[in-house]
Assembly symmetry: D3
Homo-oligomer: 305 residues x 6
């Protein structure tokens, strides 16, 4: 009996290796520095334990064991973060320096700065928790929100990834935001700017683009899009980026489910409310209530069919 795989193994391997040689876009062979998606997800997991102590991490915390617990987490995060930031920086800068040079010093400095911002991230998240509690009549208490709400998870990862993007680690920030996207169904680009007390209810399908700006006390429902209005291409057919392509929402704005707001110059001014399914490409003045003419419904009795 001939086993087809064993007969073919050499041939199959040759074909795969040949295919590696043919395309640089889908392989990373021979590089010294490579980030690890699974390690970056682990960094999120540990950071969430610092951000919400007691809620995550399997450990009953007391006043006595708290300091050691926090130190332990910070050192673990610090170590993993420094390593992965170094991988990210080194691979991203490899054009200039052939295969990539270690950027360990810079990675340590970014790690340090990031960790020092954790108290401020916690301050923001406490306001987000309060916003969820105030904004959802189904919320029974804070525990339910921190344990369950995917909107809070999406915003937590956004607030972490946003800091890392501003500290100069775009690749890591994007791996984080797409991880949260896969868990929550909300695609929040870490480049977006989001103010205090932000709440997304039901979350699935929300898209917030890279250059969107969102003020304080803003509330979203599922399926809301803050998108770009048009996509211009350069001469070789690549869509052009790098300018403000997504809308601005001022404070105290509410956007109901599946509303779509497009364009970098579009501003929804302070206190406005946008109805479900609205499609908006122009600015809206302060304190507006924007509804749209519902498409007329036709109700036909099947019985009479």
């Amino acid at each position: 009996m001939n086993n087809p795989l064993s007969d073919n193994l050499e041939k199959l391997t040759d074909a795969v290796l040949e295919s590696y040689r043919q395309d640089e876009r889908t392989q990373r062979i021979g590089l010294t520095f490579l980030p690890s998606r699974s390690k970056i997800v682990e960094i999120i997991r540990l950071t969430r334990q610092v951000l919400f102590p007691g809620y995550y991490g399997h450990k009953i915390l007391t006043d006595e064991n708290l300091r050691l617990h926090v130190e332990n987490l910070l050192v673990q995060i610090g170590s993993a973060l420094t390593d992965q930031i170094n991988q990210c920086l080194s691979i991203e800068h490899r054009d200039e320096t052939s295969d990539g040079e270690s950027h360990l010093k810079e990675a340590e400095s970014i790690t340090n700065e990031f960790l020092s911002r954790i108290p401020n991230i916690r301050r923001m998240l406490a306001l987000d928790v309060q916003a969820a509690y105030d904004g959802d009549p189904a919320a029974k208490n804070f525990d339910e929100i921190v344990y369950c709400y995917p909107g809070l998870y999406a915003v937590t990862v956004y607030r972490v990834a946003h800091e890392l993007l501003h500290l100069g680690v775009p690749l890591m920030s994007r791996i984080m935001s797409e991880h949260a996207h896969s868990i929550t169904g909300a695609d929040i680009h870490p480049g977006a700017t989001i103010g205090e007390s932000f709440f997304i209810d039901h979350v699935t399908g929300v898209v917030i683009g890279e250059t969107a700006i969102i003020g304080n006390n803003v509330k979203f429902y599922q399926g809301v899009t803050l998108g770009a209005k048009s996509f211009k291409k350069d001469e070789r057919g690549r869509v052009i980026g790098g300018f403000k392509r997504h809308p601005t929402l001022e404070d105290n704005v509410t956007i109901y489910a599946h509303a779509t707001i497009l364009g970098g110059q579009t501003v929804i001014a302070n206190g406005s409310t946008i109805a479900a399914n609205a499609y908006i490409t122009e600015s809206v003045a302060a304190d507006s209530l924007v509804t749209h003419e519902k498409p007329k419904l036709h109700v036909k009795s099947k019985k009479r069919d």
Copy 2:
């Protein structure tokens, strides 16, 4: 060389600890009882093995090993469920009894009652599987449905969480439903009431609110929302809950993709069909076919641009 992290560790830790002291909303320190999200997800995993024997759990089942297998699963679920229900009850009732007292007796009694309902849950799920088979022309057999269909997973977790909510463990039921939400993209509140033979096709983006009521033989497509029509706030700005805010669907109703139905008084009566993208805030009589006037399309040839 000074390592910035080690120089800063004490300072960073102090800052984090200070931030813990400042906000009660994002920490659970010094409490004796705390549920574990990961253990509750494990309870779902084990319960699915009881609900769909042979399909899940890596074990070839025979008439001979079946009883022992089931006993083993029930004892495992019983033990984990009693523990986590106790954690949930004790933390939720901690306002009245300072840090929380053990509710073990009550937890055991709820666990027992829940396990006795498994045969009925199986009866309901068999009807859901049949509904999926009858309702999806792409379904080849029951195996495909039980192994693959996210709609069945969403409904399975809903049926489990719904029982637990009615038995008095709201926090656990919400952790379960949001877990299913993250896996399937369907946000079904465990407080909703859903009849027999329910099927959701493609599932992503479905939202079913806390007080929705759904009859028998109802079929949904992706992106359907059963939501609240308006959100009134109390004097301190918190949205008011506790009354029927989501619609009622009678038996034999079909809702096509992305339809939105809002309001606690809205009733879609027996046998009606709602077209894709319809936006409905009023009741619909029995056996109606509700379509909506499609927005007029403009077709322009780019070539002539």
Copy 3:
């Protein structure tokens, strides 16, 4: 003290066993062959390591260790795939042969053929990566796309599952596609036909039906549906399948967010663009720009309320 669970264990077990006897639709007891969802997900994980060497799998690859690494992966995939294909074939064909006979020979032959197609899958994926880079102004480089983009993951699993479906393993292909659905929120049926250089941005909520056909250089945004127009039932109430129910998109088509295109005879011809939220059930000529009349917005100042 009587522990309620232990008193009840026999009774609870009896009830569960009785429920197993009552319904064939939700159990697989006494069968010799059963696929394992977790092993099939593991096959995807390993296959992704072959498809994107260096990006996934924790190993720094060099020219020296590459061949052995690839061989090792191929043998692992070959072994697991042969086993699981055998389980799938044997359970699917169990009607004809009582409890199912081993289909090992056939499984080996399919495995072999599948592995020989990997270079071509890689060729397609490289074009998909390029399409993502060209189509998304937020993309900074190829690394970001391969590490992060859920659209690429959805398409990767589609391209793998599509081959396996055509090689005669429908159950496995569906387990794979629904796994990707749960991770990405995009429900792409492996039966669909998708050409080169396909890109989906933001992905959540995309549905591509079993008989859809998509040409080269097509770009989707979140929430796009390629669906069936109507669902006819047979005499016993089951929806009828087996004919072309989903649309055809020719080359160079762009579909913006939440557009819905329905019907097996609907063709979007070469070079057309469909605007966000458009609802299309008729064919569109080549090079069309299809927009829809936006529902009129009502802007009311709240202040004047």
Copy 4:
């Protein structure tokens, strides 16, 4: 470059397969029943948790959670034990029934009987713990003995394996005793008979043969051997077994380090003490103190060399 392994894989595999065909003594291919050493070791681990509750198993036990905890362990042990006993019985009896028939009924009955003996095993082990405490001046308390003493571990596994041997599962009992041998350095054959209150100090190198009989209140030190005096061979050169080959020790006997006692007719009668390094092949009367003439020592000063 040719990778030598991949060039050779088929050849290497052929050679290994050929070697499998040539020798039945070192392979078990094509058999339906095969015990698993790692699962049997796991059974020991779980059984130790039942035997010494609180000491092993990571769980703080209380009066409230105790019953459920024990039931859970018993069901786990019962399930694993039934399975592995079945494998052992079926492979051992395969000569009579070709490839082996399932012995599940018998395995269940043995499992049941074994579990019912656990309280008696615990009674014996409590006496062994007391004997260790009384016999070792370095023992500070019972905790130290149960957590640390390899002598107690060796006796624990012996007492479990001895029951299983008498219940008719010799292969499992030997896998267990050799596991304990590798951990403790004491080779106690499960066929030996050992009374109450047995203690071995330092344990390494102790050998207790299959037909040895040991009374109550016996104490051993490291390196003691209870062995056979001579080995007669049958006509084809195999050593003959099946008769009493190892000594008998009556109650209250102490054997100091590295003493060797040989022969099936050798009896060390009640209350005797055997000195370190003694080599005994004849019976010893009750209440004897057996020392041996120490070899004369020669002390030479190196300086004078």
Copy 5:
């Protein structure tokens, strides 16, 4: 069919629970503090990574990553050690304080002191490595010794456990020493005192008692015992401890295989060598070479039988 286990589960459980009630010596139910053997073994594993950096721990160390790596290990060890020392202290002191009070402050202080002694432990171990290299003609280099030599592992764990015993944690020190005993076959009591440059070759069966004292540059072979000469019992039959029961070896002593040296007053003075199998109960002057008259051998030719 009745499954015997399930019929019996309640009865079996009752019997086991009854057996728990009957004996305090083999259970720890209802206690708040309990050390974990597996966590203490983990502490050894981590400590070995600090003691032999680069050799253990899967990480390529560089000057750049070294400080963070060490800090990370120290914080992990510090956290686990503080926890387990607290468990040990609290359970050992429970007689005085009913169920045991937390000794966290003391545990932290001991942890701190222990960690500060690591450099000195390393200094001692470097001398032990050198002694192994100088003393074993089969040793090729230091790598072989640190990676392989069980004698070095036994001494490493002894040096760690000895410090912890002196810092007041006897239970932990014994759990550690018996762990090393099970791995190496050498039973070195942590209470023994062992000087610099100690080497044990082949190690199996070595026993070094609690009150033994060993000087510098001492070398042992397998099976050497430093034991007690006699065991006096108190009125209730327990062997009496608490005084010096084991010998003293001065500097530069070599003890060949299986030699036995007994008694608290026995001193082997500086520079002496003890031959294999010697049995010594009296002191030996400095620079002695102690051999023993070999038992006369009888050589008989089998052929003439």
Copy 6:
């Protein structure tokens, strides 16, 4: 409250780092190549699965799945072995080439040669299994021997390590032999030469030195030593190696428990038997039965005391 660890972390780390700088003998920092003990133990585990198919590895083997199973194992072993041999060669040769150069080519060639020797190792092991069966009256069948006998495990690892030593990887061969030593208590140096049909009963404490030579059909009991007679030192005090220091045993020799045979010129000639505890430093003629005068025993009745 000041946490002592956190106050001290920098100081503790400084002290540890300083200790690393002070001693080269106990650290491997800044090296590129380092073998991993745990990966080498894994290679043993996988190799045992190839050597005893069906017995180890959790997989029921059939004629159909056998080839793929073996190929999979060979590729895994090949990959791990090549990697670890490379690490070993590169670190051992680092004196000549500064920090060490990759020896991948050589590692591949050794791996290949080793794998080609597996059939011969299996042939030897089958004879060893037969020898155990013939030599131990307690052995019931081959299964008991392969599953349980530590003597077989010791010899298995010896036969593997011996090949690797001869192929030029001494460090790996020693890591393997000391791993087996810790499991079995038998210290067999991979440099020894051992013929066919070798069996060690009870095994604990056996020591077989580097230059020992053992013929065919030899049988050992526990505690047997084949050692060196004297240890000469060079001028700097290191014991001198590199010449034949351990005895030679010709075919058909039996050595009973705890016998000690020393010296490189000592030959136990064909067919001889050495009694337990014998101490031999001179050659023994063929077919001798060597016993020794037992030390006279003193039997004193305690009663008369």
